[in-house]
């Protein structure tokens, strides 16, 4: 009897464990079996955990309102961080899970998901919604002339900020030129306990931000064209412009504008250092502005990245589509109408305001969604947005970006010359071409079969639902 009981317990335990590993395909079948033509049905959205809890609540509120209006249920699946999303999407595909919308960076689509045929072509599907976007705000989401995602977050750019209160106390002006930046840095260094500029140099991915700014100038403000030429194999990365851009980043370190502390500081450390008045200036992305604004009890000012190359002008990295909404290629076309109705609903001005308004908006991506009105925001809109270049790390593959990050830190530390650094990046590109058959313009070599796999078979008429 004891043996039988033991066996039964073992079987029950094993079955319990295995049941937890089951696929949710049963749920999908029930959804597919429901009426997906507008009356009932379900839309599933996969996204990373929102940075502010209020955003999650806003999504839930808007989804509930949508269900009330249309009868279509929305399942919001928030999990992991933004970098986990491609992996989670892939797991969902393998498990046969229903995912109708995925919130993903356009850079990931450009370098990975798009080339792999992971998302649908939205060119025709989303055309009725394009008027809802401010001028130029959807441009980054076109790759090879096709629209792959709809931006649904603030645009972002690199920015230089300074402690205006401290500058006023010390009688300093925001630097406009490289010489002024060096002079201001010297003055700040002489003040006890203050370093000139703080940067999140411990985060390897952040170094290409600074390189982008110098490379924009050394290429005569033609960095995107130069990178495209390099990625298409038409030119080598070992060029005067690339080498000089490394030299200029090193100059920050050599002339004590950047200190050793920046090499050891991550994003949170950078914000804390600046907020506590231990650094007079900061170079970061606008995605940090909200936290900075909340953390600093002094006035913040903004200034342009200094001109370091004669004949060029300051041009900042900029992009729209950090979190864009795409439709996975494995999503059922039968559910497209429901999916597009939800996209139409959330891009309405009032609903977009509810969701996007939970964060500090700097740029007006969707028309009518309000933005901050402080001086820094005004400066970024007037000086940066119209005078910018696309993020270079949205163009090249992750291997090249990693090589560039490694090369920059090596150059700064004196482990590598700028010439060797450029060669190191070129070698990474050669390696990725060999190992992964990398092609920059993947859309040009696609077969009809590949296009068919990402082209929707039916285009729902959204205009009947639009307000």
């Amino acid at each position: 009897m004891k043996k039988i009981m033991a066996l039964l317990c073992t079987v029950a335990m094993s079955v319990g464990l295995l049941a937890g590993c089951g696929s949710s395909s049963g749920d999908n079948q029930s959804v597919s079996g429901s009426d997906n033509t507008g009356n009932g049905g379900k839309v599933v959205m996969l996204a990373c955990e929102p940075e502010v809890p209020a955003e999650k609540e806003a999504w839930e509120e808007v989804a509930a309102d949508f269900e009330k209006e249309t009868g279509i249920q929305v399942e919001l699946r928030f999990q992991g961080t933004w970098s986990d999303i491609p992996q989670t999407l892939q797991q969902s595909k393998l498990a046969g899970d229903q995912i109708d919308i995925v919130r993903v960076g356009i850079g990931t689509i450009s370098s990975t998901l798009g080339a792999a045929g992971g998302v649908k072509d939205l060119t025709d599907l989303a055309s009725p919604l394009l008027d809802r976007y401010s001028d130029g705000m959807i441009d980054n989401c076109y790759i090879g002339g096709h629209l792959w995602a709809l931006p649904y977050y603030d645009a972002s750019s690199y920015m230089c900020l300074y402690n205006k209160t401290l500058f006023d106390e010390m009688g300093l002006q925001a630097p406009q030129t490289w010489d002024e930046l060096v002079s201001v840095s010297k003055a700040l260094s002489e003040k006890d306990g203050v370093m000139p500029i703080i940067f999140q140099g411990k985060d390897g991915w952040a170094w290409p931000m600074m390189y982008t700014e110098t490379y924009n100038q050394t290429t005569g403000n033609k960095s995107v064209a130069a990178v495209q030429s390099f990625l298409e194999g038409e030119s080598s990365f070992v060029s005067d412009a690339s080498v000089q851009a490394f030299d200029l980043v090193k100059k920050f370190y050599d002339e004590n504008v950047l200190t050793q502390a920046s090499l050891d500081t991550d994003d949170e450390g950078m914000i804390a250092t600046f907020a506590q008045g231990k650094a007079g200036m900061l170079f970061a992305g606008t995605w940090d502005y909200e936290t900075l604004k909340d953390s600093c009890d002094f006035e913040i000012g903004a200034f342009q990245f200094p001109v370091m190359v004669d004949g060029s002008h300051s041009e900042n990295g900029y992009g729209v589509g950090d979190y864009a909404l795409a439709i996975p290629s494995f999503a059922s076309d039968d559910n497209l109408e429901n999916t597009m109705r939800f996209l139409e609903y959330i891009t309405r001005q009032d609903n977009a305001q509810k969701i996007l308004g939970t964060s500090t908006m700097i740029y007006e991506v969707l028309k009518g969604v309000s933005t901050e009105s402080d001086d820094v925001t005004k400066f970024l809109n007037s000086q940066i947005a119209g005078n910018s270049s696309e993020y270079l790390d949205w163009l090249w593959p992750s291997e090249v970006n990693d090589a560039l990050s490694t090369a920059i830190v090596s150059v700064i530390s004196g482990e590598m010359s700028s010439q060797d650094a450029a060669q190191y990046v070129q070698d990474a590109y050669t390696k990725v071409c060999e190992e992964k058959d990398y092609t920059y313009a993947w859309w040009e070599s696609w077969t009809q079969e590949q296009w068919d796999a990402v082209t929707p078979t039916k285009i729902p008429d959204l205009t009947q639902y639009m307000q």
Partner: protein, 293 residues
């Protein structure tokens, strides 16, 4: 001739564990080996690639740098954890006031996750706010102030120190259990024979706790080989310029940042074979029976 009856009960009792092990360890491993022969980004169709992924791995300098770091990490962590844990166990096995407090204090880091520990130490090592540099400055040792996680010469050792600090308590407890099991009369006999402290350690303690040493070394070395991802990822993510890259962080990047699953699996297979050989050699040379009688 009477046929021998086979008792199926023990096999049935093992069946559940065997099925689960097969499903969650053997099968994924087999799939991993299989996909290592393909070019696959995780989204598109797999393309057969023969042994090319293995060739790419052998040509990849960063992977071999990561393997070297992994071995340095594993060896240093194993030696430091065991030597320090044994030393602490030798002290804390004795009866003295406050013994329980010290045992608990040393054990507490074991209960914290790598995430908590990693973030805590990143702040301790921080050059601007960090306790370590502030302490060095306060005691007049400014010349020792370093960028603990940004200086390629010391970053790996800074992480090793954290890993050792976290796990010392665990190994100490095992050593205390081993030391408590050594019969006291052996020490008395050794003293009668004129043995000093070192001789007692060499001829009584170490042979008597051999199985504890083997377990401790095996656990720390396999842990250092295959469970160092979290701490490295949180503290440096392999930087600066791959100076703290270990095989697991590089495999993860290759798979989930570069979406090169075939090559990542080839790296995993090579790492598995190396750890297998290493573990086999270790067991072969270290394991022999304890003699308590």
């Amino acid at each position: 001739m009477r046929k021998k009856k086979i008792d199926a009960f023990p096999y049935l009792m093992c069946l559940a564990a065997v099925v689960l092990f097969t499903l969650f360890v053997v099968l994924p491993f087999a799939v991993g080996v299989y996909t290592s022969f393909f070019k696959w980004d995780g989204f598109s169709d797999m393309k057969f690639n023969g042994l090319k992924n293995y060739l790419y791995v052998f040509q990849d300098d960063i992977y071999w740098k990561a393997i070297k770091n992994t071995f340095v990490y594993a060896i240093l962590v194993t030696v430091l954890k065991n030597v320090i844990a044994f030393f602490l166990a030798s002290i804390l096995v004795k009866n003295f006031f406050g013994r329980t407090f010290f045992r608990t204090a040393i054990y507490i880091p074991v209960t914290l996750s790598y995430i908590v520990i990693g973030i805590l130490w990143v702040w301790i090592y921080n050059p601007t706010f960090g306790l370590l540099n502030s302490f060095l400055s306060a005691v007049g040792l400014d010349q020792l102030i370093l960028g603990w996680l940004s200086d390629a010469r010391v970053a790996l050792f800074a992480i090793i120190a954290v890993d050792v600090w976290k796990w010392i308590g665990y190994h100490m407890v095992l050593y205390i259990a081993g030391l408590q099991a050594v019969p006291k009369d052996l020490y008395e006999a050794a003293e009668i024979d004129g043995a000093g402290p070192l001789a007692k350690l060499r001829y009584v303690t170490l042979p008597m706790i051999n199985s504890t040493i083997v377990i401790n070394v095996l656990m720390s070395i396999t842990g250092a080989f295959v469970a160092n991802y979290d701490i490295v990822y949180i503290m440096t993510d392999g930087g600066p310029y791959h100076s703290t890259e270990v095989s697991l962080t590089y495999i993860m990047k290759t798979a989930f940042t570069d979406y090169n699953f075939g090559k990542a699996n080839a790296m995993s297979v090579i790492l598995f074979l190396m750890v297998l050989v290493f573990g086999f050699i270790q067991l072969k040379f270290m394991s022999h029976e304890d003699v308590y009688d």
